[in-house]
C-alpha cells in the first residue's frame, strides 16, 4: 500500500532524464521514441550480417563433392614418385647437389643442370626400407618423409613442380595386412602431371589405415582445397569389413561467401545423414564416399 | 601527472630525488662496455645450466656433460670446444648470471625489458645511459653496429653505423658517387667554410633559445653532433668503420673505436650460425652451432682485448666489460617440430673489468624457473632473495660504470657479488 501511495503521490514535475530519455508517468526514465540515443554501433553492439542464401541444394552439393573428389584425395605417394622422377631425370654431378642424395638446398640461388632442369629451394627427402637386421625393431617396414620443404623443380619446358609443405608415409606389415599412416600438408602442383597434382592443390590430410586380405580401412582428417573447392574433413572412418563399407564421419564444404555446409553420415551405417548450412539444419545429404576412399586406399598400397 | 621514466630522470637531474646511499655522485669511470646480443633466445640448458642435465622434466643437451672451469659451472660438449675453451681461458674474469626473469614471451618486448628494465616505450637502454654518463667529449659515445637500440634522453649519444658499413661510405663520400642520379659531394675547398658557418649558425641559434627549452637542447645536440662528425672526419683515414657483417667484423669495428678512445659503448649482434638465428622453434640442435660460433668470436674478442691498448696505454681488457645476453631462454622440452619455444627465464654473462669472475650467480629450479638470489652474496636464498630481472642486470651494469642505477631501476639494485 505504501508503495502505491508513493507512486500516486509523485505526480509532480518529472525528474530530469538524460538526453534521449523521457520521464514516464511512473517517474522513471524511458527511452524516447525517436531519441538520438547512443547508437548501437557506438556502444559496440552490431548486427550480424544476414547469412546469404545457401548456394547449393543438397542434391547440388553432391555434385560439388563429386567435383571436389574428381581427381581423388591427395596422396603423398604420387608426390614422392614425382619428386624422385624429376630428381633422377634432371640432376647432374653438381646440380642440385654433388652427393647424389635426395636432399638439396638452394637457398639463395637456383642451379640449372646440364639436363636443363632448374632446382630452387630446399627439399630434405628420405626414404627407407627396413632391413632384417635393423637395429630398431620397431621401425616401419617402409617409410618416406619430405621434411617441411619449399622447392621448385623446373623442367626444360619451363613447367615447375612446386612444393610448399611436407609429406610423410610409413607402412608396416601386420601379419597379412599392412598398416599405413601419413600426412600431406601444404601446396603442391606440376602442370604436366595428371589429376590433382596437375591441377595444383592445397591440403593438410592426416590419414592412416590398413589394407590386406581382410579388406581396407582408413581414418582421415584435414583440410582440402581441390579443384578450387575448399572442404574440411572433421573425421572420416571407413572399413570395407564393417558397416557394409559405409563411411562414418563429418565433412564440411565451404561456399564462396565463407559459410560452411556440414554433412554428417554413417550413423547406423547409413550413407545419408543430417546436413547443415551455416549451422542451421538443411535437410539431408546422401553420399557414397566408398569409391573415393577405396581409390585413396589403393594409392597407399606400397608394400 | 604520470611519472614516466623521462620525468624520473629529469627530476633526478634537477636533484629532486633522494640519491641512493651507496653511490654518491662520483665522476664516471673510463670503463667501456661491449654488448654482445645473441638474438632470438638461447637455450640455457646447452651452456649455462648444467643442473638441467639431471632434471627429468628437461630435454637438455643430450650429449652434454656437467663441467666446471675456473669456478664456472657449464655444460660441456665435444661439439662446442670453444665454450670450454672460453671458460678455461677467461672463466676467472667471468660472472654468469642465471635465472633472469623477463616477463614476456615476445621477442621485441623481451629485448626491451632486458635492455631497459621497463616496458616504457620511451626509455634509454643501458648502453645509451652509459654513453650519456661518459666523457662528454667522446666522438662516438655509443656505437650501435647491428641490433636494437632504445634511446630517449641520450639519443644524441647513439651512433648507428649501418648494417653494411654505410657510415664509412657516407663519411668518405662514396655513398654519393654510387647514387643513381649523378651528384657529387661539395668540393673539398668548400667543406670547411660550410662546416664553420653551419657550426656558427647552430651556436647562434642555441644562444638565442631559452635555456632548458627543447629548442636549446636540439641546437646544442646538433652542434655536438657536428663537432663529433668533424672529429671522425679527421680520423677517418685510420678508422675502419665499415662492417663485414659477421660478428667478428662487428666486434672489430667497436674495438677500433675503443682503441682510439672514440667510444664508451658498442653493441653487436649474433644472429646464429649462418644467420639461421637462435630462435630454434624447429631443430633445436642448431643451438650447438650457435654457441660454438658465438664463443669462437668471444674467444677472439678476449684475446684482442688483452693484446690491444686503449688510449691510456693499458690493455683494453683492463677497462672493458663485455655483456653477453639473449632476450629469452627456451622451454625445457622439445616441441613436435624438434625445436623449443620461448621461455621467460634467461642467462647472461659479464666479463672483464670490475667483474668478480669465477662464479655463477643464480640458478634454475626443477621447473626451470629462476631461483631467488641474495643480491649481496649472490647465493640462492629462497626465503629472502629476489628473483632476478632485467632491471637487476641493468643495475649491475650501471654500477660497473659508477652510475647510480636508482633513477632507472628503482628497487632493483645491482647484484653486488658480481662487482669486484
Amino acid at each position: 500500500m505504501t508503495g502505491l501511495l508513493l507512486l500516486a503521490a509523485c505526480t509532480g514535475d518529472a525528474a530530469e532524464c538524460m538526453d534521449g530519455y523521457v520521464a514516464s508517468a511512473g517517474g522513471t526514465c524511458e527511452e524516447a521514441p525517436d531519441s538520438a540515443a547512443p547508437s548501437d554501433s557506438a556502444t559496440g553492439r552490431w548486427e550480424r550480417p544476414e547469412i546469404p542464401e545457401a548456394p547449393w541444394s543438397a542434391d547440388e552439393l553432391v555434385g560439388v563433392i563429386d567435383d571436389l573428389l574428381d581427381h581423388g584425395l591427395p596422396d603423398q605417394v604420387a608426390l614422392k614418385d614425382l619428386y624422385l622422377e624429376m630428381l633422377d631425370q634432371g640432376r647432374d654431378g653438381s646440380c642440385p647437389n654433388s652427393d647424389g642424395t635426395t636432399i638439396f638446398a638452394m637457398l639463395t640461388d637456383s642451379c640449372t643442370s646440364d639436363k636443363g632442369y632448374t632446382f630452387y629451394g630446399i627439399a630434405a627427402f628420405l626414404e627407407d626400407t627396413k632391413q632384417p637386421d635393423d637395429p630398431q625393431p620397431d621401425a616401419a617396414d617402409y617409410v618416406f618423409n619430405m621434411a617441411p620443404a619449399s622447392f621448385g623443380i623446373t623442367d626444360p619446358d619451363g613447367d615447375t613442380y612446386y612444393a610448399g609443405g611436407a609429406f610423410y608415409y610409413e607402412g608396416r606389415f601386420d601379419d597379412d595386412d599392412v598398416t599405413w599412416a601419413g600426412e600431406t600438408n601444404g601446396s603442391f602442383g606440376y602442370p604436366k602431371s595428371e589429376g590433382l597434382i596437375g591441377a595444383g592443390y592445397a591440403s593438410s590430410l592426416d590419414a592412416s589405415g590398413t589394407y590386406g586380405p581382410s579388406g581396407d580401412s582408413l581414418t582421415a582428417m584435414g583440410s582440402l582445397n581441390l579443384n578450387d573447392i575448399a572442404a574440411f574433413i572433421d573425421e572420416l572412418t571407413w572399413d570395407t569389413a564393417t558397416c557394409g563399407g559405409v563411411a562414418q564421419g563429418s565433412v564440411r564444404v565451404r561456399t564462396a561467401d565463407g559459410y560452411w555446409y556440414r554433412a554428417s553420415f554413417g550413423a547406423d551405417c547409413e550413407a545419408c545423414g543430417p546436413l547443415t548450412y551455416a549451422d542451421e539444419a538443411f535437410g539431408e545429404l546422401c553420399y557414397d564416399w566408398a569409391p573415393a576412399l577405396q581409390a585413396f586406399s589403393d594409392t597407399m598400397r606400397t608394400l | 601527472m604520470t611519472w614516466t621514466r623521462r620525468r624520473w630522470l629529469q627530476a633526478a637531474a634537477a636533484g629532486l630525488l633522494v640519491p641512493a646511499p651507496l653511490w654518491a655522485a662520483a665522476a664516471p669511470t673510463d670503463r667501456r662496455f661491449l654488448f654482445v646480443f645473441a638474438r632470438g633466445g638461447w637455450d640455457q640448458s646447452f651452456c649455462f645450466a648444467p643442473e638441467m642435465l639431471s632434471l627429468s622434466g628437461v630435454q637438455a643437451d643430450p650429449d652434454g656433460v656437467a663441467a666446471e672451469l675456473n669456478g664456472i659451472p657449464f655444460v660441456d660438449n665435444s661439439l662446442r670446444p670453444n665454450v670450454s675453451g672460453f671458460f678455461r681461458a677467461y672463466g676467472d674474469r667471468t660472472a654468469v648470471i642465471n635465472g633472469i626473469e623477463i616477463r614476456s614471451i615476445a621477442h621485441e618486448m623481451c629485448t626491451r625489458l632486458l635492455l631497459t628494465g621497463s616496458q616504457d616505450p620511451v626509455a634509454d637502454d643501458w648502453a645509451a645511459i652509459l654513453a650519456g654518463h661518459g666523457d662528454p667529449g667522446l666522438t662516438l659515445p655509443h656505437v650501435q653496429v647491428v641490433g636494437p637500440s632504445f634511446s630517449d634522453l641520450y639519443t644524441s649519444k647513439v651512433v648507428r653505423v649501418g648494417l653494411a658499413g654505410q657510415f664509412a661510405s657516407l663519411l668518405d663520400g662514396t655513398a654519393l658517387s654510387a647514387s643513381d642520379l649523378a651528384v657529387a659531394a661539395l668540393p673539398v675547398t668548400a667543406e670547411d667554410p660550410v662546416a664553420l658557418m653551419l657550426r656558427d649558425r647552430t651556436a647562434a641559434l642555441q644562444a638565442g633559445s631559452r635555456s632548458g627549452s627543447d629548442s636549446e637542447r636540439f641546437y646544442r645536440e646538433y652542434g655536438q653532433a657536428l663537432d663529433a662528425l668533424a672529429d671522425v672526419q679527421d680520423q677517418s683515414d685510420e678508422l675502419e668503420l665499415s662492417v663485414s657483417g659477421d660478428l667478428g667484423g662487428q666486434i672489430e669495428l667497436v674495438l677500433s673505436c675503443f682503441e682510439r678512445g672514440l667510444s664508451r659503448c658498442g653493441f653487436v649482434t649474433h644472429d646464429g650460425w649462418q644467420d639461421l638465428g637462435w630462435d630454434t622453434h624447429g631443430n633445436n640442435a642448431l643451438q650447438h652451432d650457435n654457441y660454438e660460433e658465438l664463443f669462437e668470436a668471444l674467444n677472439v674478442l678476449m684475446a684482442e682485448l688483452d693484446s690491444r691498448q686503449g688510449p691510456s696505454g693499458d690493455p683494453l681488457s683492463q677497462e672493458t666489460v663485455v655483456v653477453v645476453f639473449s632476450e629469452m631462454g627456451r622451454t625445457p622440452r622439445i616441441n613436435q617440430s624438434g625445436g623449443k619455444d620461448h621461455w621467460t627465464f634467461t642467462s647472461a654473462m659479464l666479463v672483464g673489468a670490475g667483474v668478480q669472475g669465477g662464479q655463477a650467480v643464480g640458478a634454475y629450479d626443477d621447473s626451470v624457473f629462476g631461483e631467488p638470489v641474495d643480491l649481496a652474496s649472490g647465493a640462492i636464498d629462497e626465503s629472502g632473495g629476489v628473483r632476478l630481472t632485467g632491471g637487476h642486470l641493468g643495475a649491475t651494469i650501471l654500477a660497473l660504470a659508477d652510475v647510480d642505477p636508482g633513477p632507472w631501476t628503482g628497487d632493483e639494485g645491482p647484484i653486488l657479488s658480481v662487482l669486484d
Binding site: S204, G258 | L163, A175, T189, R217, L229, H281
Partner: protein
C-alpha cells in the same frame, strides 16, 4: 510516520538518480584544451603541418598568406588535407605505427622469379600494401571502418603480377584491386603485407596476430601485460602450455580473449612459413583449424562470430577502434605516446571523429588544431610539460621535401636510400625499420648529422645542375643564372625567398651577409656552381631545416 518520511524522500527531485556527471569529453563543444604552450608563429606552424601532412615545405604563397593573416591558417590546413600528396604522406605516417615497412620478409623477389632490380620495389610494395589501403580510405574521406571491412586492397602493378589480384587499372600505379582467392572482405585483415610482417609460428597458432590486431586497431596491447609463469611443470612443453592457457586464471587473463580472436586467422595458416604458394594465397579450407589447434570457435571479446569477416565488422563497431584511431593520429602528430593524462583530450578527439562520420581527416584537422601540436614551447615556468615541441625531421619527410624542392631523389641501384636499412640510411637518419627500431628518433645524432650532410650535398648538387648548368628548372632559384652575384636583384630575392620557404622565417640582414660572403668565398675557388652548391648545402643542413 515512516511512510510520510518515505513520501518526503521519494518525491524529491531525485526520484531517479541524477544522470552521471556528463562526460564533458563526449560533447565536442564543451571540452577545451588547457592553454599550456606558447604557440608557434603561423608560418612555422604551417611549415610543421605541411611537412607532417604532405611531406613537403609549404608554398611561398601560403607562407605569405598566413604571415599576413594568421587566421587563414585553418583554411590553408584544410587545403592541405585535400591535396593529393596527403595519401602518400599518410603511408609514411602509418608505417611508423603499423611497422610493415620492413626490409626483409619471409619471401623475397627471387621467390617470384623477379629480377634483382626489383628487390627493393618488391619489399616496398609488400610493406606498403596495407598502408596504402588505409591511406586511400583516409584520403578519399571514406569511413575509417572501411580499413577492416573493405572488399578490396590497394596494389601496384608489381603486386598484381605476383599475387592473386585483379584490377580495372592496368597501369603500374597503386590502384584499388580485388583478391581472387576467396579471402573475406576485411580490409587490411586480409592483407598479405600485414600477415607477412606479423607472422605466426607452428605453436603460436596465430596468437601473435591477434595481439597485433588488438594493439594496432584497438590500442590494447596484450604484450604490455607482464607474463609471469606460475611454478608449474605443465608449462615445460607445448601440451602443458596449451592446458595452462585454457585453465590457469593467470594465463586466461589474456588468452580468454586472445585465443578466440586468433581462431579467426587460420585462413592465413602456412604449413611452410617460407613457401611462395603457402604465403601468397589465402587458404579457406584451413579456417576450421581453429577448432583443431586452439580447440575453440572464433569469438570477438565474448561475442561469437562466424569467422574473419565478422571479426572485421566487430572491430568496426568497437568503441575502442574509434578511440584508437584518435590515439594513433595524436601520437603520430604529437610525436609521443599518449598517456592517461591525455584521456579527456582523446575522448574529445573521438567525439569529433564520430561526429565527422569517422573520416580520418577530421582527426588530422583536430590534432593539428591542438595547442600541443602548435606549440613553440611551454608557458613560462612549465618545463614539465611532456610535449615534444621541437622534432627531428624524419627521413621520409626529408626525402620528399628535398625531392619537391630540387627534384633529387636519393636512390642507389633502385633502393630508396632514406627508405631502407639494408643499403640505405633510414635508421641512421632517425627513421623506423619496423623490427629493431620502432619509434622515430626525436633528437639529432652523429649518424643523423652525417646522413643529413650527404643528402644535403646531393640535393644541392642536383639542384645546381638542374637550375644553373643544364637550365632545366627555375623553381628553386628563379631568375638566377651563373652570372648572378650578391647584390643582383634576382640573387638576393631568390635567397630571401628560399630561406623563407625552407624555415618559415625571414632571413636577417646578418644572415644574408654571411651567405653572400660564403658564396663569394667559394666562387673564388670553385666557381659560381660550386658557390651555389655550398650555399644550398648549408641551407639544407641548417638545424631549422632538419627540425619541425
Amino acid at each position: 510516520m515512516s511512510g510520510l518520511i518515505w513520501l518526503a524522500l521519494a518525491c524529491t527531485d531525485a526520484v531517479v538518480p541524477d544522470p552521471p556527471a556528463t562526460d564533458s569529453a563526449t560533447s565536442p563543444d564543451s571540452w577545451t584544451e588547457p592553454v599550456r604552450f606558447e604557440p608557434l608563429p603561423a608560418p612555422r606552424l604551417l611549415r610543421r603541418m605541411s611537412l607532417d601532412l604532405l611531406g613537403v615545405l609549404p608554398d611561398l604563397d601560403d607562407l605569405d598568406r598566413v604571415d599576413a593573416d594568421p587566421d587563414a591558417l585553418a583554411q590553408v590546413r584544410d587545403d592541405l588535407l585535400e591535396d593529393p600528396r596527403l595519401e602518400d604522406r599518410l603511408v609514411q605516417l602509418l608505417a611508423d605505427r603499423f611497422l610493415t615497412r620492413i626490409d626483409t620478409f619471409p619471401l623475397s623477389h627471387r621467390d617470384y622469379e623477379l629480377e634483382d632490380t626489383q628487390e627493393h620495389p618488391f619489399e616496398l610494395a609488400v610493406g606498403e600494401e596495407p598502408l596504402r589501403l588505409m591511406a586511400h580510405v583516409a584520403a578519399q574521406d571514406l569511413p575509417w571502418t572501411d580499413i577492416v571491412t573493405a572488399d578490396y586492397t590497394l596494389a601496384n602493378g608489381l603486386l598484381r603480377q605476383v599475387w592473386p589480384l585483379t584490377s580495372t587499372d592496368d597501369t603500374d600505379d597503386w590502384a584499388v584491386s580485388t583478391w581472387t582467392d576467396g579471402r573475406p572482405a576485411v580490409g587490411i585483415l586480409a592483407s598479405n603485407g600485414l600477415w607477412w610482417r606479423y607472422a605466426t609460428t607452428p605453436f603460436n597458432y596465430n596468437r601473435a596476430r591477434a595481439a597485433a590486431v588488438s594493439r594496432l586497431l584497438l590500442c590494447e596491447d596484450y604484450l604490455a601485460r607482464p607474463v609471469t609463469l606460475t611454478s608449474s611443470p605443465t608449462l615445460a612443453d607445448e601440451d602443458g602450455t596449451e592446458q595452462a592457457v585454457r585453465e590457469d586464471p593467470a594465463c586466461l587473463a589474456c588468452h580468454v580473449t586472445m585465443d578466440p580472436l586468433a581462431a579467426a586467422f587460420f585462413g592465413f595458416w602456412w604449413f611452410d612459413i617460407y613457401d611462395t604458394q603457402e604465403l601468397t594465397y589465402y587458404h579457406p579450407e584451413r579456417e576450421p583449424y581453429n577448432e583443431v589447434f586452439l580447440g575453440m570457435k572464433t569469438s570477438y571479446f565474448g561475442h561469437p562470430v562466424s569467422g574473419l569477416a565478422e571479426v572485421g565488422l566487430a572491430i568496426a563497431a568497437d568503441t575502442r577502434f574509434r578511440t584508437c584511431a584518435a590515439e594513433t593520429v595524436a601520437e603520430s602528430l604529437w610525436r609521443r605516446p599518449v598517456t592517461v593524462d591525455d584521456f579527456d583530450h582523446v575522448q574529445h578527439l573521438r567525439a569529433l571523429f564520430e561526429d565527422g562520420e569517422l573520416r580520418l581527416k577530421v582527426l588530422l584537422a583536430a590534432v593539428t588544431d591542438s595547442g600541443e601540436y602548435g606549440a613553440d614551447g611551454p608557458l613560462e615556468g612549465d618545463d614539465d610539460h611532456g610535449a615534444v615541441t621541437v622534432r627531428l625531421i624524419t627521413p621520409s619527410q626529408l626525402a620528399t621535401a628535398l625531392a619537391d624542392l630540387t627534384g633529387f631523389t636519393w636512390t642507389t641501384e633502385g633502393f630508396e636510400q632514406l627508405g631502407n636499412d639494408d643499403r640505405g640510411y633510414r635508421t641512421m637518419a632517425g627513421g623506423v625499420d619496423g623490427v629493431s627500431v620502432t619509434s622515430p628518433q626525436l633528437s639529432p645524432s652523429v649518424s643523423q648529422a652525417l646522413v643529413a650532410r650527404r643528402v644535403a650535398e646531393a640535393a644541392a648538387s642536383h639542384a645546381v645542375r638542374q637550375e644553373l648548368l643544364d637550365d632545366e628548372s627555375d623553381a628553386l632559384l628563379p631568375g638566377v643564372d651563373l652570372d648572378s652575384e650578391p647584390g643582383d636583384a634576382a640573387f638576393d630575392s631568390a635567397l630571401d625567398s628560399l630561406v623563407w620557404r625552407l624555415y618559415a622565417e625571414r632571413q636577417t640582414d646578418a644572415e644574408r651577409e654571411e651567405l653572400n660572403a660564403l658564396w663569394s668565398h667559394v666562387r673564388g675557388t670553385d666557381g659560381a656552381d660550386g658557390a651555389w652548391a655550398a650555399v644550398l648545402t648549408l641551407l639544407f643542413r641548417d638545424p631549422r631545416m632538419l627540425s619541425t
